[in-house]
Symmetry: C2
Subunit: 324 residues, 2 copies
């Protein structure tokens, strides 16, 4: 699916990757209201929640309620993160369109995040994939720390290729390459994205970047240059991995959409509407969020000069005539 | 000077573009100490201060003291911003290596910022350039709002070309294209940078980006792709134009240096040293700064896992054997 088309598909992950790290519980009704608003903006997909242990991620302990209470808009896919078979069973019971299975490319991060070895995670994936077939649930697998691990450092590309092949061997239909702790640089992203798209042209690949070291949007552009067209992003730039020290927010949805629209890409998203929703986010989570376009306004925003410029014109004309 | 070389030259503008907008006066001795530390990091150039009206920019009212008290390191160029002939005379008296004349591509912004028409600014430039010749001061001209103006919107490329030609006609040796209020997008940057480098291959061009809408680092990469090799950046991402509503910080020096080094560019800068200096910045200015690498650490920073991984190995082996 290496593409030179202008169409980019945005997967909104704030309700999952954003909310999971919040210290204060966000009421279920507020989550549902936010997702319902997001459903009307033109986003391609929304990662609604995570079917994980309520002890591990207390803020998403209402996964079933949220998933079942949202109003599903036609044309939007609703997905949820699942780390294991148990999570998948819960997600399936809520009739998700898609599940996003997650595991890490590095043993240490997989253990820190999921308390499993990579081999154990792959076994879970096989079972999930098998269980998804009868109900036609699309199975996506997210490979965390695909560009580098906070414990083990740079991940060799061959290891990534091996995991992608393992995913596909187990019946996965889409793969997300995740820079979980914001260590990827744009050259690395371009190289890895080109390589996987060349090897597996029929697979739907997505990229997932964190902006921990200010490289997030650069990495989005590199991935697009390589032919990627599916991008994870989080409203307001909310997010981070609770088991990844130093990680800060995901790339910010409205900042990504704004930049891509300025560049002539078609995201299908109503930016004005998205910004309006993002502007409510600080009140919802109780703190400032990193996104910038919701604060500064889009690039085509106009300001009044210190005096309306038509009033200055005669002055400027006069000054010009003085030939100062 | 369109270049495919790996060498990138960083011009540090925090002491000028960063400090000018601070509401509390930064003591002269602290400015001098910061610049002296920055001089040892491998930066190519430092914009030390601005010779403007102390009423307009009170925080830089000590321009002469700072310029004369810093220790000049061999190999570093020391420049200062000048908006007019009067500023130039003051800068020359301090024996700057270079002056950075500034004016805007849009009449309204030039008037808001400098209380002059563009024609009047060009007349000032001609006089400055003439005055610089006997003392061999290098004259750089920065074109503010070159990519767009908060009052007038997108600036036509032909207008930029005309200003560049006007600068060169008046004896300018270097030109900086400034995205003063952070409205440029990466495609626009690539196009404009390629165009000016093609038209004037012998001129030293620099780019100056603000990160107002999160596109700053993307624009740096686009400019590098186009062949630019001189980049303005500000320690900690400090900065903004006091007369440009909505403007926030410049691109952050340590974030830029970090990304470029990760990508294989040679900035000549000691990143560790730079980060150490940046980490003192919040205490100096009395508030948080936008830079991210000084908070998160470089991408190759390693963390200890929840337990040292070699202690987990036997557990993982055992789990593997259980074939969970």
């Amino acid at each position: 699916m290496q593409s030179t088309s202008n169409r980019v598909y945005i997967n909104e992950v704030a309700p999952r990757d954003g909310f999971q790290g919040e210290s204060v519980f966000i009421p279920t009704a507020e989550k549902v209201a936010l997702i319902d608003r997001l459903s009307t903006t033109g986003l391609a997909k929304i990662e609604v929640t995570s079917f994980t242990s309520p002890k591990a991620i207390p803020n998403l302990r209402d996964a079933e309620e949220v998933m079942c209470q949202i109003r599903r808009a036609p044309g939007v896919r609703y997905t949820a993160l699942v780390p294991n078979v148990k999570g998948f069973e819960r997600a399936r019971a809520c009739q998700v369109d898609e599940v996003n299975f997650v595991m890490s490319a590095s043993e240490s991060h997989n253990y820190a995040n999921l308390r499993m070895s990579c081999e154990q995670s792959l076994a879970q994936l096989a079972e999930i994939s098998h269980g998804a077939r009868p109900s036609s649930i699309f199975v996506n697998a997210s490979l965390s720390t695909a560009f580098g691990c906070p414990f083990e450092g740079r991940i060799h590309e061959d290891r990534v290729f091996a995991f992608v092949q393992s995913f596909l061997d187990r019946g996965v239909q889409g793969v997300t390459l995740c820079d979980t702790t914001g260590v990827a640089d744009p050259r690395q992203v371009q190289r890895l994205c080109e390589a996987v798209l060349k090897r597996w042209p029929a697979v739907r690949f997505t990229v997932h970047f964190h902006n921990t070291r200010a490289m997030g949007l650069c990495n989005v552009l590199s991935a697009l240059n390589a032919g990627m067209r599916h991008i994870d992003a989080s409203l307001g730039g909310l997010g981070g991995c609770p088991y990844a020290p130093g990680a800060s927010g995901n790339v910010c949805t409205e900042d990504v959409v704004h930049m891509l629209q300025q560049m002539g890409y078609d995201t299908g998203v109503n930016l004005e509407h998205l910004i309006a929703i993002a502007q409510h986010l600080p009140a919802l989570v109780g703190h400032e969020v990193p996104g910038q376009v919701a604060k500064a306004g889009p690039a085509d925003r106009r300001f009044l000069g210190p005096a309306p410029i038509h009033l200055l014109d005669p002055v400027l004309d006069w000054l010009d005539r003085c030939d100062v």
